[in-house]
Symmetry: C2
Subunit: 211 residues, 2 copies
Amino acid sequence: MDLSSRQKEIIEMVKEDQPITSEQIAEKLSLTRAALRTDLAILTMIGILDARPKVGYFYSGKSILSSIGSYMKNLNVEEVKSLPIIVFEETTVYDAIVTLFLEDVGTVFVQNQEKNLSGIISRKDFLKIAIGNHDIQKMPVAMIMTRMPNIAYVYADESLYDAAVKIINHEVDSLPVVEKKINDNDNEGLKIIGKISKTTITEVLVKIGKE
Amino acid sequence: MDLSSRQKEIIEMVKEDQPITSEQIAEKLSLTRAALRTDLAILTMIGILDARPKVGYFYSGKSILSSIGSYMKNLNVEEVKSLPIIVFEETTVYDAIVTLFLEDVGTVFVQNQEKNLSGIISRKDFLKIAIGNHDIQKMPVAMIMTRMPNIAYVYADESLYDAAVKIINHEVDSLPVVEKKINDNDNEGLKIIGKISKTTITEVLVKIGKE
């Protein structure tokens, strides 16, 4: 967003002499208040200036940050999710590690026989097991995975911001994107329909920056 | 940035009937053109609408994206870098893995005797070695690390956007933040002064969203 030179001048003026009234700004610029109205409305609107009634204008400078915030809050997980890599509870730890390398991912999701999300395994979980004295060629992933209800996940209609908050708060690298489903036996389950990772977030930012 | 209900109405109108002139918008809203001037100026200014002389207004919707891009390009790595975890070339693979768990990081940087950046090891590198038949208690990290000049790194005065691009292009989880230095023997080296990871980027976004 490009500001006009007059708008930039107004910002500098407010930064130096805040609070400052529109009359004072108009006088300094030798303009009428009416001529300034649109510029002041724009600067207040986009949040660079803060207007307090009967006091005047303050410099806030928050606008760009808050637009990033609202952009992230309006972007649905659905629009940016990537393909999930899924193994079964019976898959051996060794085979799951091979899958992780072949698919070039950092986290593997696990589903049970009803095809519901039942676990998640990170590179660190695998590494911990691999340096121990375990027969990883025979051990099923069900023995080492993080299980429900300890799995952090998101629904497709949550925002990228919600996903980022969960990733940071739960200290994980990625989240399964899920949808609720009713199984044959009337139990509720979560179907894995995608993945949101720190990589997704970084890619979104790179894509935005390129545009 | 919150748009007024009239501004939102104008946006919807332009989306449906673009290009549309200010006369047509004024007529639909039963307002004078003068009453619309500030709203149209704001919407054009922040880039949601595009105005073409003698044609009318178009919907662009680009503004927020471009402010995110410029924010990321103006934020220096210096301001957001975190502490690097560093081991020596002689450190054993086992000890480096223990450090990775103790420090709760995903990547370990390696420095040589001159205290210059000489290597980097990811969780995947460790995992690959751990599942092979290696004596990781005796093997030094120098045997498995990615070496210069194959290490992606950033300088402190590069932007967070530059860092994100390198992370995606080199398919890594984190970058050492370095500064050039001249060693005693007049060789140039890179001193490790920080770390930028996908976690850093995700944290920055969460922080922005909270504000």
